[in-house]
């Protein structure tokens, strides 16, 4: 059953219809087999780009879809329900366009943004390092200015689309001034000295490559710095606020897919002469799953509407990310339970959903970091 959505415009209704059509026709059919093989679905991203789904929350003059977050996130939810590697990939790509769209000069935007929003160029975002995850400001990759170039040395870690992306947002240290010593560089994938490492061998989301990026005397022109020198950390955090909402929406998508699979199975599976959905032991489990999903969806939409209205939304985004991903973990675990032994096998999709949900509690700020963000917002003077 498709989720019935209260959408703000007719345009949004048409967009969600198109998204469902693409999700059912071009995304979902490839998910199981490509995940099994760990293949990256580049063609799917091309199709979504042609349909205009890779630049939704950006300005029309650069080819964006001018959609509010409230609508863009529901598109992500539908894509993630079909295949998380794609939904999360669109979220990461959209996040990777943000530093240029929000902090780039007019000249930089005109030059690079249209190709990025059209999906001809796929994006990646490099903040974490092996030694700096939650404590992101401790990053050590160094960029030293030499004439009209920065010479970059170090290594970025946990980069989604690492090795597949066409451009990388590099958060690099340009001075020793802590968080104020970080700058953002937009480096093309073919930058000499920028070398993606073999992808991590992950528990799930095997079709979404995650890799370290080695930077060995990589020269990036000063003209590719986004914003001012030293502005990089605030750019990174602003991008992450939007990115967290993306993760929340993806989590709701995965949870919804798990609920749909579990309730369909519970209607079909018979034990002791009845469909198991007729037993409260199962139907109450499904009821709690559905309630959690509705609440998570309402929470990310409330945060999105704050963002769209120009209100402060960082704590609400953190709450939505925390709640939606914890909900997805619980819902997908319970979905496996509803399927019983079959749920633990790869013949059904729910074990994949469970493996996928786990990563969402970790990425773009662990759920412990989300609590830190929320807690700090409460004690601000």
């Amino acid at each position: 059953m498709p989720v019935e959505r209260a959408l703000p415009t007719e345009e949004a209704v048409a967009l969600l219809e198109l998204t469902r059509e693409l999700a059912a026709g071009e995304v979902a059919p490839h998910a199981a087999a490509m995940e099994e093989r760990g293949d990256f679905p580049r063609e799917v991203f091309c199709t979504l780009g042609e349909a205009g789904l890779l630049g939704l929350p950006y300005a029309e003059e650069y080819g964006g879809g001018v959609q509010p977050y409230e609508v863009y996130l529901q598109v992500l939810e539908e894509l993630a329900a079909a295949w998380l590697a794609v939904g999360l990939g669109v979220s990461v790509h959209t996040l990777a366009c943000f530093p240029l769209a929000a902090y780039g000069s007019a000249q930089q935007r005109t030059r690079w943004l249209p190709e990025m929003l059209a999906g001809n160029l796929l994006g990646a975002y490099c903040l974490s390092e092996a030694g700096s995850g939650s404590d992101a400001a401790a990053l050590r990759t160094r960029a030293v200015r030499q004439g009209e170039d920065y010479v970059v040395n170090g290594s970025k870690a946990w980069v989604t689309h690492g090795g597949e992306a066409d451009f990388y947002n590099l958060m690099v240290r340009t001075s020793e001034d802590g968080p104020r010593g970080i700058s953002t560089l937009l480096a093309p994938a073919d930058t000499p000295g920028l070398t993606p490492q073999p992808p991590e061998r992950k528990m799930g989301m095997r079709s979404s490559p995650t890799a370290s990026i080695a930077l060995d005397d990589a020269r990036v022109p000063v003209g590719r710095r986004l914003g001012e020198e030293g502005q990089g950390f605030s750019i990174a955090l602003a991008a992450l606020d939007g990115g967290r909402l993306g993760i929340a929406a993806c989590a709701v998508g995965v949870a919804q897919a798990a609920l749909d699979a579990a309730s369909a199975y519970a209607r079909e599976r018979r034990q002791f002469g009845h469909a198991i959905v007729e037993y409260q032991g199962i139907s109450f489990l499904l009821a709690d799953m559905a309630t959690g999903i509705e609440a998570a969806r309402a929470l990310y939409l409330a945060a999105a509407r704050r963002r769209d209205a120009g209100l402060e939304y960082a704590p609400q985004a953190a709450m939505a990310k925390l709640f939606a991903t914890d909900t997805a973990m619980r819902v997908t675990t319970d979905a496996v339970q509803v399927f019983g032994g079959y749920g633990y096998t790869r013949d059904y999709p729910v074990e994949r959903y469970m493996r996928e949900a786990k990563v969402l509690q970790i990425v773009e700020g662990t759920n412990q970091v989300q609590r830190l963000v929320i807690g700090r917002s409460l004690t601000k003077p």
């Binding site: 198109l18 199709t47 349909a51 205009g52």
Partner: protein, 266 residues
């Protein structure tokens, strides 16, 4: 190259279809309407012909005959990339059969400028597969039906259209000159998805509504009362009966073969 694609809105292919008890016509109100699947292939082929012909004067116009609701299918066709649409909309058309529909569409085509008319080779509701031939006959133009491949050669003056017509044995090559009517089968292409921008742009594209008077259609020549075919009665399909379960105790294969033979499948 000016191309018209005839598009029909049909009841959702997967929905249970019913006839309206009052007049035995297809009940279009109680189910979702969708664009007839083969018509999407026709739109795609028309767009490809237009794109390869090039030139600012190459256009694709959608022509639909149907109730108000059919506008949804017109919008879909426009969002795929058609340039304009004409909706033949008149209560007097309700209940028209294939013969009358071909007359009405031929009259509507008379109000338009065109070199090619492209159609799907059948609709999923009536499944008669006769309309393209009837239309070509009424228009007195080349009839190139059941195409699995279309090639258009030459651009000025007379243009040659060569198709591969799908047959049970393989295919025939048929050639004609424009003006021509082409019908296509699903092997011909893979219809594109509309883009989000296409959906937005579709709202601003010209949509002309024609009454039967506008199209010069005689009111006595269309509609249920004047139809040359009639539904004299219908019954609901019987509910599906329980299947036969064959327990395989070493004899399963033989029993399956016997079952298939009894039903004349083998």
């Amino acid at each position: 190259m000016k191309i018209v694609v005839c598009v029909k809105q049909v009841p959702d292919t997967w929905a249970e279809k019913r006839l309206a008890p009052a007049d035995s016509t297809v009940d279009r109100e109680s189910v979702d309407g969708v664009i007839n699947e083969l018509d999407e292939y026709a739109i795609e082929e028309a767009l490809r012909i237009k794109e390869s012909a090039g030139g600012a004067d190459s256009t694709v116009t959608v022509l639909t005959m149907g109730p108000e609701k059919a506008t949804e299918s017109i919008r879909k066709a426009l969002s795929m990339g058609a340039d304009a649409a004409v909706h033949l909309l008149d209560d007097a058309l309700h209940g028209s059969d294939a013969l009358q529909t071909s007359y009405a569409l031929a009259q509507a085509l008379g109000t338009l400028e065109w070199d090619l008319v492209v159609l799907g080779s059948e609709s999923t509701d009536a499944r008669m597969s006769v309309l393209p031939a009837m239309l070509a006959e009424r228009l007195g133009v080349s009839q190139l039906t059941f195409a699995r491949k279309v090639e258009v050669a030459g651009s000025n003056g007379s243009t040659t259209v060569r198709i591969e017509r799908l047959t049970e044995a393989g295919y025939d090559v048929i050639e004609g000159s424009t003006p021509a009517v082409i019908s296509v089968v699903e092997k011909i292409n893979e219809p594109r998805y509309p883009s989000f921008k296409g959906i937005m742009a579709a709202k601003k594209k010209p949509l002309t509504t024609l009454t039967i008077a506008d199209a010069g259609i005689e009111s006595g020549g269309v509609g249920l009362a004047a139809a040359s075919t009639a539904v004299t009665g219908f019954t609901e399909a019987p509910p599906r009966s329980a299947g036969t379960i064959v327990n395989d105790e070493g004899e399963g294969g033989r029993k399956l073969a016997e079952f298939l033979a009894a039903k004349k499948f083998v």
